[in-house]
Symmetry: C2
Subunit: 459 residues, 2 copies
């Protein structure tokens, strides 16, 4: 819970710093509303509860129905717990006293949700003015949904500010503390090990299957970028000669990991598989060796694209001048998604488009979830990929501006190939970066591990 | 998909039968709206999609964003698929043609959702009148939520009937066909086997853990009726001497199973565990041997209560006249939940309170999810339990009307016991019932299976 205390302190520092630079009053509260349990349609089936991420960041509360507030002038943190009916004890377990939450969540004060309005009024020191509430409101640039500002009874008695909080709080989340990095590292360790176990146990004839919305694709399916949903539910049988693309990561204490491994189901890379896999691996390696504070993520994306196009060019799958291909956005035919995204309490952590940053309009680049310059403390996924997607290859081969770059005969061979993606979680350090993911990446490492060798390999 | 064709035919027969008996017009459409994908709060994290149950019953569609309609006069079934954007093919997979859905889901016609209004108007034969739409609307008596009637653009051009459909369609779901029973049987077979594997593998020192909202409780936690949620997340360590209570079931082709096994973590029942376990087992056996069409479920609940109280009385845990205890609702102190619920596409299948049935007000009985008489084709869970819940024992021991029934000294021993529940899925047949669940139930069977014996035991 220390971590969430630090997160609150970080927000307070940022807010006070912001107010020192502006003419806005520096008093008031930051009230946040935690998530509520959801039932499935009209039934009483309760969906697995996951706390709302901004609320989780500041308060670390696991249970539904809470509110939290931070008093900006005193720095005090307050939790508001739902008042549970007596028969909760029979159906759902012990009703915990407020003191339990005060201690567990390391906050200064705890009240019930129905005491929210009165508590804020009482705590507010400058009684002559209306208390000012800084609410969470703004666009999530990945989903295009808006955060839902806290809402409670008696709220109309307060003055509301909807613009200050979200960019400042989001910025706190963008740059990870050492404690946050330690948790993300743990989630990565567990997930890396899980990936290795999957590699070792995948056998021809099994089914993809997976109970969550992971992407576990084999063969042709691995070219479906967001495979693994109701209409494409990870249900293919693993076939000899297929590549597998496993995109999955564990979450621990709210913080996540996001890792992709690509490997041949039968344990041996073919020549063609080696070509595509190594093109993507080279892109990943080039990006990771170039990452450091100040570097533009758009340039990293282009570096990955260029590396892949050069490899395809060398094998004659594309042909011509790679700079010209880049200008015509041929890279986006093979890698239509962005190079990576911020990672934290959300898999796609917010803050990718801080105020003033515009989304590019070109193919590939417009799919970037961030266009920021790298900063120390960011955790970002590096996930170049190379896919053979009919819906993109066909129009590009027919377009007079790009047709000349494609070797149709060679491409035909890759029609059923699917795709390869390699994804690692990388933390930006003061003078470079640190790869937090520990999976076999070289083709020979993968083949050895799949054949039963321990990981890491013995020298 | 045959099964869903039969389900639609069953609804048509019921509707036509209903109209033959009434003065209402027998023409019009039954339009249903399928479920939509949900994102988590403001993020782009997509929750695992599960089709809405009424829609699943009639159409068996796995994908989100569909509508369906049935033409009552012609019997024709029509699906309306969402029109997907071109880049769906890149991110989410092949865009399937309408003919694919027509064939897969065995319907007569398929259009796009944006053609819904026009299609219904065109199909409607009696052009001089406004088409009448029978929408799904009404209360789910388990959740107290209302079904959401289908909503689509241009709906205001139709006349709406909100009262006819839901009770008739719900009644179709209450009485299972042979095909439905076969699927529920399969889900039961898989889940029974899973329960046995859990029994065999549970070891002192493990953690409860479970990724879904199952109830996997050990020791004292097994008295928390709906254990296994965000505030009580299946996280206790399995201790020597603890009982485990595992309430979980698989779903197959939308139809579910719901099974509870209770067993000692260390593989050997203590004397006290045997007493409580056998009280519950006897209640289950008495109920199952009494179940047949025409029997009142309220009476079955009382039979279970009485059996458990008699066993507790024999051991001196309660004392006095069992009939008097029943009258004072002492049974509900030990079994505060209802005896069981209808099971089908929903774990708590709807229809428990058909029109005209009132919920009882007495403790225990008021928790019944149905008070119906049993009918052939119903699948219902039989799940008696006996728990030691401080929040109920304390007030009952202090209440002058009930205090005399409790032996406080003996009860003290059971304070940390938790509880036992045994749950089987039972199908009502023409002259009795059939237990669909195949798990070891006798204490010696459980001990043998936990020691490694194959199930079923060899004679």
């Amino acid at each position: 819970m220390d971590l969430h205390v630090s997160n609150r302190r970080k927000l307070l520092d940022s807010l006070r710093h912001h107010f020192a630079d502006s003419s806005r009053p520096s008093h008031g509260f930051v009230p946040l509303q935690g998530g509520e349990e959801q039932t499935r349609y009209c039934t009483d089936h309760i969906e697995l509860f996951r706390q709302e991420s901004y609320f989780a960041y500041l308060f670390g509360v696991h249970e539904p129905g809470f509110y939290g507030a931070i008093d900006i002038s005193t720095g005090k943190s307050i939790l508001f717990a739902p008042r549970l009916p007596a028969d909760y004890a029979v159906w759902l377990g012990e009703i915990k006293p407020l003191s339990y939450f005060k201690e567990s969540y390391m906050v200064d004060l705890v009240y019930y949700v129905d005491e929210l309005k009165g508590t804020l009024e009482n705590l507010f020191e400058e009684k002559e003015k209306n208390p000012l509430l800084f609410l969470l409101h703004g666009l999530n640039t990945d989903s295009n949904n808006y955060s839902k500002p806290a809402k409670f009874e008696g709220m109309e008695n307060f003055e509301i500010d909807l613009t200050t909080l979200r960019p400042i709080l989001t910025e706190c989340r963008v740059l990870k503390s050492e404690q946050e990095l330690a948790i993300i590292q743990y989630a990565n360790d567990v997930s890396s090990e899980a990936h290795i176990q999957v590699m070792r146990n995948a056998k021809v004839g099994m089914k993809e299957h997976c109970s969550y919305t992971c992407i576990c694709a084999t063969g042709h399916n691995s070219s479906v970028l967001h495979y693994g949903h109701a209409a494409a539910p990870n249900d293919k049988i693993l076939e000899d000669g297929d590549m597998a693309l496993m995109d999955m990561g564990a979450e621990y204490s709210f913080y996540g990991s996001d890792i992709t491994c690509s490997f041949p189901i039968n344990g041996k890379f073919t020549k063609d598989q080696t070509i595509i896999y190594n093109a993507v691996l080279q892109a990943r390696n080039n990006v990771i060796s170039s990452m450091r504070p100040g570097v533009s993520w758009v340039n990293m994306h282009k570096l990955a694209e260029k590396t892949i196009l050069e490899a395809l060019n060398k094998e004659g799958i594309v042909q011509g001048n790679v700079e010209e291909m880049m200008a015509e956005r041929v890279g986006a035919v093979f890698m239509p998604h962005g190079l990576g995204h911020l990672l934290g309490i959300d898999t796609h952590d917010p803050g990718g488009y801080a105020e003033g940053l515009e989304r590019p309009t070109e193919p590939g680049l417009r799919s970037l979830r961030t266009v920021r310059e790298l900063q120390k403390g960011m955790v970002i996924t590096v996930e170049p990929g190379c896919y053979f997607i009919e819906a993109l290859l066909k129009p590009a081969s027919e377009n007079p501006a790009t047709a000349k770059f494609f070797n149709h005969e060679k491409l035909e061979k890759f029609k059923k190939f699917g795709g390869v993606r390699i994804e690692s979680d990388v933390c930006v350090t003061a003078d470079g970066c640190r790869n937090m993911t520990n999976c076999p990446r070289e083709t020979w490492e993968i083949e050895a591990v799949m054949a039963g060798a321990p990981w890491p390999l013995k020298q």
